[in-house]
Symmetry: C2
Subunit: 133 residues, 2 copies
């Protein structure tokens, strides 16, 4: 479970850009929170729960949690879709194998190519790192 400050922005990131699907959503008026369970298509055993507390709270990151990680069928296509959606590719897939991005709340997300690394390809192979992950 990760907490998110802006649910619509997070759903846009996790679903439209990263490619996850909504499995269920619960809006709790009394508790003033919304829970959304997400998973990659065909990977419903590995779920991510988003908790959105309706009353704002600071969502700082800590060092004990590292990242979420997903294997993807085409790491270049995934990064392209994220980049076109305005997501910074913090660690571009220069090696055709691994990339890192961050969610709107700075949750670090690792993307790994399924199977063998892909051959190096522009613009990725000459793209510099941006920020930290």
């Amino acid at each position: 479970m990760v907490r998110v400050s802006d649910l619509e922005q997070s759903l846009d990131f996790y679903c439209n850009k990263l490619g996850l699907q909504v499995l269920s959503r619960t809006d709790n008026d009394a508790g003033r929170f919304t829970l959304v369970f997400l998973a990659a298509p065909g990977d419903e055993q590995a779920q991510v729960e988003l908790t959105h507390n309706w009353d704002p709270e600071p969502l700082e990151s800590g060092r004990s949690f590292g990242h979420l990680a997903y294997r993807v069928k085409d790491i270049y296509a995934t990064c392209q879709r994220l980049m076109e959606g305005g997501v910074i590719i913090n660690r571009p897939p220069r090696d055709g194998y691994m990339a890192f991005v961050r969610s709107p709340d700075n949750i670090s997300i690792e993307l790994l190519q399924e199977g063998d690394p892909k051959p190096p390809e522009e613009p990725w192979s000459s793209m510099n790192n941006r920020g930290v992950w």
Copy 2:
């Protein structure tokens, strides 16, 4: 991925007490780190990666990450095994359905009973909360 300060202590917690299994382990002498991938038996799609950096670092928690969560076949048996292993049951399963504990590095872990909640049972039904989760 979560970082752990003491790998043997963490493996004792996640495997012997919580019941996960080691899928793979990589010791990287050059990078001075060890990676261990864990999963619940039969649930290998949902993996947890432990990263142990050999050089000590502070592993503070942040609010953006909430918890890991596992469904268990018998929440009382799981909590009994954890408690006998010296783990504090921060949120006992008074309702026969939900409990929270913490890893040695304070990662919050939610345990949920599979299927219907179990009937209330001592010592759980009268056990108070301890600390936060």
